[in-house]
Point group: C3
Chain length 308, copies 3
């Protein structure tokens, strides 16, 4: 048992042995989804609060399903329309929630470091479900689980992440996690969307898509956020798609067993052509399925196993 | 056992024997609502996702209560503030939800045929909870259950549906279902709100309220949607109400055992006078109660009984 | 057993023996929050509907957690985006919900008397979770529980309530409840925010903060609503804070064992300085914890014990 922490706040602060522990636990959780009765009593009597300050139905739903399959009580607490709008501070809201005795608070917030702040001040467990452009650790874990299932291992694999690296918490968490697992990471995208500090994270930088994906075992296509399209970062959507969009034609120069991944939601025709999204290379829906398993694993490790 | 389908998408595609199967099952479900402990383990370990792209608390709540009384896990997934707004296609969102292994997706969408599209592409069961002006099959089923309970049978009864037939998914589902059960259906309303294709559905058309309701066993008053009031379909709200509103005075020319129904929410003073809504003829709240029973029955038939 | 009522609508209509019954029940509920498995089967098979017409995540969450720990099914029914917006009356919406056979409806509504109206017309139990500036009875009960735990008793204690008394349902419920329990209540605030009828409720009125809090066992600081800040009730936020804000400096003239309470959410730096909010005098988070226990007690007394 490698897991001893109270919280899951970032991949940067998580060790390789802990990542392996989550992935191994998720493997055993995954089987539950295939049962006739998708329910185990593991977290019965535990309370999970989804504290989401940014709209997210996908991640919130994944955590909610994970919690309910483990028999926990899951409470959705939306930041909008709440006391936050009445002028209460983020920490005061969190401390109020803590006073209701939850076991785990799953938090999404636009402020980088928000979940770490809560982890420091709350006695209950805190899971970062995305904090601004900082990290999204359960996304990285589900990406690793998907790669490990398809490839059989992680170490030594070449991963290329394509798109808006600067604003992507997914890229940041993936890079930290993949580097720790001994993987080689290349990032590719327009220079305006690659942070200068990128090389300090131990990744290669490429500004040509064909070159970046030629030897990749895994290509992770990032979503082009709508706000980037009008923010002066790219000349035009059409231009971005022409230069950085992944098409079946471009895939012909890749390894025949390459995996195409995407954190969703996909902009079909922008970063991915519909044919690629639906191709045999795509494991995008496997990622979603693994998301529930990974979240079950994390909830179990934080709320179910540490007490024992 | 007549029910073999994976989905409930429309009344048009449902056979009379299947309708009877739902109604008979709903009868036995109805007793659960009267128990001290309103809970049966029938769907324990099953996951139901309410995927609502249009605001609806009433129908969503009815499905949520139905699912919870059957011990299922029920997840509400709202279309607004979700990945749909981030440019993801309806089918991609649905496929993402499917990847989280639900047993049933209950979908409301403004696009006619949306639920049918999901039923075709998803392996899990799909229930249409209203698709634009197309169909709302569980509403028709709860209407039939209510009529059968009050009248003892369905065949041979005269039903008159009054109001905005053109834009009503309730009317469309009711007409299909009632015709299959051997009932005679008359539709009545201003010519602008009666679709020309109506007679192809096997109904009589009337443009005079008194004539239309004189021999009815059941009068189904439709809600006048606010958007119709300003859309050039009717001269004025007052005029509509004067010509097509049901009052106690007008009821004096009806059968003494006539049933007044309404899919809700009621515009008191528009299509129904308050006295009629609260009269002994009104079975509007019975419809709501039966809605939970019918949805329990459908959830059970799709998710609980087929596997056995 | 003092509790025989179907509903909890106001503190004005609740008797001292009933208040004591809730507090005693809440004491035994409180222990559940400290268990490894926070779950008792008391309300299994009971259905609770949270019918909230005003945004409130805090109170709604407290009721939701209370219901789930008692194993009830809890359904959130938001007033916005619902049939209310389609022109349905409040009572019709409530009667529709009742037709779905809930055991308890928890209602928040901006109209004073709304919950009482429902209590009169619905067969199920109704709990007032705040009706305009009228009452918020479970808040008063959790305040009393907190005071009783800290002081050992209620009778004879001096409580000072500071701030916008006129618009505060918390103040109104507190005053009724505290007077019934034999406590002395002083209200203090700008003359524009103290209702003239205040003395009829048996409270003392003070227009000087220092005088009002000098002998208090408990100081209840009310939240200054944002809308008051611009409504001509106070000269300026800064002025209000300077005259009526509670600071550590001002606390030096109070009893050394004084309790500082606040119904939340706190405007730090307005009615309370951050130092006071976080001081050893503050029991604000105890109030939140006790809120869950009090709501469990009320749900149990209304839905679980009366039938036995």
């Amino acid at each position: 048992m490698a897991w001893k922490r109270k919280d899951l706040v970032s991949m940067q602060d998580t060790e390789a042995a802990e990542i392996t522990e989550v992935l191994d636990t998720a493997e055993s959780m995954k089987e539950i989804a295939t049962r006739e009765i998708k329910k185990v009593p593991t977290l019965r009597g535990k309370t999970i609060v989804n504290l989401f300050y940014e709209a997210s139905t996908r991640t919130r739903t994944s955590f909610e399903i994970a919690g309910k399959w483990l028999s926990a009580d899951v409470i959705n607490f939306s930041g909008s329309g709440s006391s936050a709008e009445k002028g209460e501070s983020f920490l005061d809201t969190a401390k109020n929630i803590e006073a209701m005795s939850p076991d785990v608070v799953v938090v999404r917030h636009k402020a980088p470091g928000g979940p770490a702040l809560l982890a420091k001040h709350l006695k209950c467990s805190v899971i970062n479900a995305g904090d601004g452009a900082h990290e999204h650790p359960t996304q990285a874990l589900l990406d690793l689980l998907t790669i490990r299932q398809k490839k059989g291992h992680l170490e030594g694999l070449n991963v290329t992440i394509v798109g808006d690296i600067t604003h992507s918490r997914v890229a940041r968490s993936d890079i930290h996690a993949m580097r720790k697992m001994g993987m080689t990471v290349t990032v590719a995208g327009p220079p305006t969307l690659i942070p200068p500090a990128c090389q300090d994270m131990g990744v290669k930088v490429s500004h040509r898509l064909e070159e970046a994906i030629a030897h990749a075992d895994v290509i992770m296509m990032l979503r082009l956020q709508h706000e980037r399209m009008t923010g002066g970062f790219i000349p035009s959507l059409r231009e971005y798609s022409r230069v950085w969009g992944l098409t079946l034609d471009r895939l012909t120069h890749c390894r025949p067993d390459v995996l195409i991944m995407h954190p969703g939601p996909v902009n079909r025709g922008v970063e991915l052509s519909p044919e690629v999204a639906d191709s045999q290379y795509s494991v995008i829906l496997d990622q979603v399925t693994n998301g529930v398993a990974v979240r079950m694993a994390v909830l179990y490790l934080l709320a179910g196993s540490r007490a024992a």
